[in-house]
């Protein structure tokens, strides 16, 4: 953060978000989404441990930057191309907790895949979230293609795509940034760097300290922000979004985030991460840091915090019930939608 905002911080704590153009309601709602994503995440893991779900992959620690980056986006108009840790981003974009839990339970009305994909493979045509696959990195060229179409069709849409730092080693990642750089596409290329690709640490993934420096290789700005500083994440995302809207091209954004949980429910991070490190990253939990900011700003009283927690619990309980009561896919539908069906409206 620049000298100006540091000064502002010293003078008046509460005006830091206002200086970025965010209202009190904005930041409280951002907090709500971060807390909602965390609570939903916790619920998914509990359900998995209880045998109600086969598998969980999620993003504890990533919520702050995801909510912040999604905040400037036009939720109806703009596109989002997610990855498996995009729980909070999908919620802000317009998926409901029930939508995500329907995927966890692999139910027929799971909007992501109708129970066809493993949990965590989000997608929703209604809110312009493109379907996700499992091979890492393939989504990056898709985002460039979507953004190219937006430019050619003059729709004014902006596309945001997300990936972890491990995914930046893929050729597709490079090819997408190169293409988007050449055509100055309205795209936000997000890298959520939690320093681990499953168990492989950052130092074995890349020879540079920050993904952001690679932006220069594609003729686009590369910026890096601390994922536990939610307002800073918002600031860089907003700048990139405005840049895209102005037609000035894409931005590569690295969010340095703590990975608070294991890679997935099939992983035990204690086996390859030292205890002290796990202690340390917990201090960077965006739920805590942003909560603390809001408390300092006088916006998040204990009563308010409880109120939000109660609301979230109600919503997630309800979503769990709805998802749990939903029917499983009919096995006779297994052969459908290999191709568009004759007579059906073209998707």
């Amino acid at each position: 953060m620049g000298a100006m905002s540091a000064k502002t911080k010293a003078k008046t704590q509460e005006s830091e978000h206002a200086a970025l153009g965010l209202t009190d309601d904005d930041v409280l709602e951002m907090y709500y989404y971060i807390a909602l994503a965390r609570a939903l995440d916790d619920r998914m893991w509990v359900l998995q441990r209880a045998g109600k779900a086969m598998f969980v992959i999620s993003g504890p620690g990533h919520e702050g930057c995801q909510v912040a980056a999604m905040w400037p986006m036009d939720k109806k108009k703009d596109w989002f191309v997610p990855f498996y840790r995009s729980v909070a981003a999908c919620l802000v974009k317009g998926m409901s907790p029930a939508d995500l839990l329907l995927g966890l339970f692999a139910r027929a009305n799971d909007p992501s895949s109708g129970g066809r994909q493993m949990p965590g493979h989000y997608g929703h045509p209604g809110v312009k979230i493109l379907s996700t696959s499992s091979p890492v990195g393939t989504q990056y060229p898709h985002a460039a293609g979507i953004a190219y179409a937006s430019t050619l069709r003059k729709t004014g849409e902006v596309t945001m795509v997300a990936i972890g730092e491990g995914g930046t080693s893929q050729g597709d990642w490079h090819e997408a940034l190169n293409f988007a750089g050449v055509y100055k596409l309205p795209c936000l290329f997000i890298v959520e760097n939690n320093e681990y690709a499953i168990s492989v640490p950052l130092r074995k993934q890349m020879a540079v300290g920050s993904v952001a420096v690679r932006g220069a290789g594609y003729g686009m700005p590369g910026v890096s922000a601390d994922g536990s500083d939610v307002l800073e994440c918002y600031r860089v995302a907003k700048e990139a979004y405005d840049r895209a809207r102005r037609g000035d091209g894409p931005t590569l954004i690295e969010f340095r985030v703590p990975r608070l949980g294991s890679h997935s429910s099939d992983d035990q991070q204690e086996r390859y991460r030292p205890k002290e490190e796990l202690e340390r990253v917990r201090q960077r939990d965006p739920l805590k840091t942003f909560g603390a900011y809001l408390q300092r700003a006088g916006l998040l009283t204990d009563a308010r915090k409880q109120e939000i927690a109660d609301r979230i619990k109600r919503e997630i309980d309800q979503a769990t019930d709805v998802a749990d009561a939903s029917p499983e896919p009919d096995p006779t539908t297994g052969a459908r939608y290999v191709f568009a069906e004759r007579g059906a409206a073209d998707a």
Partner: protein, 327 residues
Amino acid sequence: MPEVRYIDAINQAHHLAMEHDDSVIVMGEDVGAKGGVFGATMGLLEKFGEWRVIDTPLAESSIAGVAIGMSVNGLRPIAEFQFADFIHPAFNQIVSEAARMRYRSNNAFGCPVVFRAPYGGSHGTALYHSQSIEAFYAHVPGLKVVAPSTPYDAKGMLLAAVQDPDPVLFLEHKRMYRLVRGEVPGGEYTVPIGPAVVRREGTDLSVFAYGWMLHETLQAAETASKEGINAEVVDLRTLAPLDKDTILKSVAKTNRALIVYEDNRFLGYGAEVAALIAEEAFESLDAPVLRLGGPDVPGVPFAKKLEEWFSISQEKILAAIRKLAAY
């Protein structure tokens, strides 16, 4: 009807598709100012401009991946791979993404992309400009694979592919570009993706082929007829989804089957056709189903004599026809 070369038919289809529909774009290496290394996209840049005729960076995976993204956001891309041999870096995008998008999203998203790829052995094009790739892709549900053999079909099937709501791998045997001519209407028309067609009626045996092999097979069948062997020749045209009915109907009539394909033999496209006939037409067979494919070596070698050794010639097809007829 004017007679045109295969490549001209492909070029005409591009022009018509782009004139007819603003959402159709063309992308690939050298498709712009050069008009494609074979001339398939000649004249498009001048007419439709740089944003609809995209000279892409030299990166095949993103040619496919970017096309997929375009297709979910309202465009109808025709993506050219300069040679089928260079499509392999895009395998993941085509197979994991384009082919699976509709199924995995439960019909929420589809990928109407045409992937064009010039394939097959030509004169002196060796291991990396001669490959036949159809077996890799025809194996994948969710992807349509076509290999038209005439200018008429090439134009009509390319126009059909552009209108198709699903991804189509469009294979053009390079040998045909300038060698094969045929009558082609000037305007728009489509030839449906799916149905095979009987190119030569016969009674003694059925030969199944596609692409350039169809032409070699027709010549061989002509020679065989002079020897009293009356071969039926079926042009498969669409390799996936396969027109089983036309194949089975032909075998029911002739009781003998030969599949000719230029790819190396082992697990090549002919294996599936042979298996289909063995399973579903066993009782009509008077002879074992034969496959004539290329040798199982890693590619077409360069030196002329080696290339001839590899290639499926009329003589080799004729020998296989004689063998099958004599069984």
